[in-house]
């Protein structure tokens, strides 16, 4: 034989099967031994809704609209995130802060409507980089399954982080690892 790529190639055995081989019994038992050994192996599956995979700290998942320490929305509806977005997934409408709303919005202008289409979003994180007010960042969860397309258009209510003073526990849970990162 001429030189081979590896020396592990085995010549194919084309001899006719003997009677014992042709009733397949021994080979079938060998195969059954292999399959039964898998019964005792560790299953790699993660039971998704109950268990979740741990993501790295830089994982870019669902968006969160940030509040400051007093619970006021950071976003001023400047539109830089929408401009930066390569998938054109972000839509917003601005509104002016009225007197008496100072504890709701940090600046004089705020986003009355803020929507992200999670089917368009490519989770690149450019909105996070573009934001001058530290108002939007990508969390460590991803969009859960939904029955219709409409369910994937996330409104402002779904994106806003819980209030840090009124809903402390939910807020800390939503912040997650990010709180320690700074």
């Amino acid at each position: 034989m001429s030189a081979r790529l590896t020396n592990r190639a085995v010549e194919v055995d084309r001899k006719p099967m003997t009677f014992l081989e042709s009733i397949y019994l021994w080979n079938i038992m060998k195969g059954m031994g292999i399959t039964i050994s898998h019964l005792f192996k560790k299953k790699p599956t993660i039971n998704f809704p109950e268990q979740t995979r741990t993501f790295s700290k830089v994982f870019r998942g669902l968006h969160v609209l940030n509040r400051d320490a007093e619970g006021r929305e950071n976003c001023t509806a400047c539109g830089l995130c929408a401009v930066a977005c390569p998938a054109e997934a972000i839509t917003m409408e601005a509104a002016e802060r009225l007197p008496g709303e100072e504890d709701l919005y940090r600046e004089e202008k705020y986003a009355a409507k803020y929507e992200i289409n999670m089917l368009r979003c490519i989770f690149c994180g450019l909105c996070e980089e573009a934001c001058p007010k530290d108002a939007i960042y990508l969390s460590q969860t991803f969009a859960p399954a939904n029955y219709g397309r409409k369910g994937f258009i996330y409104k402002k209510e779904e994106l806003l982080i819980p209030h840090p003073i009124n809903e402390k526990e939910a807020y800390e849970k939503a912040v997650g690892d990010r709180a320690t990162k700074k």
């Binding site: 009733i23 397949y24 059954m32 399959t35 039964i36 019964l39 790699p44």
Partner: protein
């Protein structure tokens, strides 16, 4: 014709037994579908169904409910009568075979009346099983033919020829058992094994042949040619939908349960508890029946597991390989087994 009170007791007792066995067959068939999916998953390092109820144990109910609510379609070009007869026949024959199997030690009431845990202890018990199984071929044949679909027809022809050819070595393997026990009665075969040890100890080759043929009779992998999805789309039940399809699928699992029970009865001592003399425990008759029934079920469950285990190990045979194995390998082996058994019995009797 007048019925005596004792006859009424007989009729009531048998009716209860029949209802219990049919209920049990359905229950076990239901949970065999679940076990099939679970075992398949485990052997493939997956988890299997685990969403419907704890560990997914309500999955068979969900599947059955789905089948009930599906639209029922009878193709226009089909033969309507035979189309409906097919699944009915498959189901009936699957259930009828359970009549002659002794499920547990007979129950003796306080009055001394004996209730055998067997619907009918007919003298030609095992032959009845064989004849009913042969009729079972018609379920597949008629269903496949009446669908008026070339794939169904091909599958039906395959199924019929496969079942006919594998009945032969099965019968030959059985003859060796009958030589030893000297009776066709199922209860007598079990009684013989309780006294003289299990038949599998003296007939290992016969058992293997019988087991291989049982796989073929149930259309289980590696002999599932009638249902070869990648060659015949779906096999003989291609045109069936809703509960008629459910009947075919269910009949397959009931067949598996019954053939496991028959193998246990013929080769593994039926309801006999191994290694112990249960008569010395001094249990009441009720508990005796209960314990022996549990032992029977444990053995049957083991065989059902082996059926599943084989399905998820071995790929399907090619059609010519199937026929070669049946006619050229199993029949000579079964004949040799039969001759040796006969010679040994003759020698021992001398």
């Amino acid at each position: 014709m007048y019925l005596l009170i004792i006859d009424w007791w007989f009729i009531i007792g048998k009716s209860i037994l029949i209802a219990a066995i049919i209920g049990l067959s359905f229950f076990i068939a239901m949970y065999t579908t679940y076990a099939e999916r679970k075992v398949a998953a485990w052997l493939q390092d997956r988890r299997g169904p685990n969403r419907a109820g704890p560990f997914g144990i309500l999955q068979p109910l969900a599947d059955g409910g789905k089948l009930f609510f599906k639209e029922e379609i009878i193709p226009l070009a089909s033969n309507r009568f035979l189309f409906i007869l097919g699944p009915a026949l498959a189901m009936v024959t699957a259930l009828v075979t359970s009549t002659v199997i002794p499920w547990a030690a007979p129950f003796v009431a306080k009055s001394g009346a004996v209730f055998p845990m067997q619907v009918a202890d007919v003298d030609m018990g095992i032959l009845l099983v064989f004849s009913v199984v042969s009729v079972g071929v018609y379920g597949i044949m008629i269903g496949g033919w009446a669908s008026n679909n070339k794939f169904s027809l091909l599958a039906a022809i395959r199924g019929a020829s496969q079942m006919v050819s594998y009945e032969l070595p099965m019968g030959l393997a059985l003859i060796a058992v009958l030589f030893m026990t000297g009776s066709l009665k199922m209860s007598a075969i079990v009684g013989y094994q309780i006294e003289n040890g299990w038949n599998v100890l003296f007939q290992p080759l016969g058992f293997i042949i019988f087991f291989v043929c049982a796989l073929a009779e149930c259309n289980r992998t590696p002999f599932d040619l009638p249902e070869a999805e990648n060659e015949l789309n779906f096999g003989y039940h291609q045109e069936y939908s809703s509960m008629k399809l459910g009947f075919y699928l269910f009949a397959e699992y009931i067949n598996m349960f019954i053939s496991s029970a028959i193998m246990v009865t013929l080769y593994f001592g039926g309801y006999d508890i191994p290694f112990v003399n249960e008569a010395s425990w001094g249990l009441s008759s009720f508990w005796m029946t209960f314990v022996s029934f549990s032992v029977m079920m444990a053995k049957v469950s083991f065989f059902i597991f082996v059926f599943l285990w084989i399905r998820w190990t071995i790929p399907r045979f090619r059609y010519d390989q199937l026929m070669n194995l049946g006619w050229k390998k199993l029949i000579p082996l079964a004949l040799i087994n039969m001759l040796i058994t006969a010679a040994v019995i003759l020698y021992l009797k001398k």
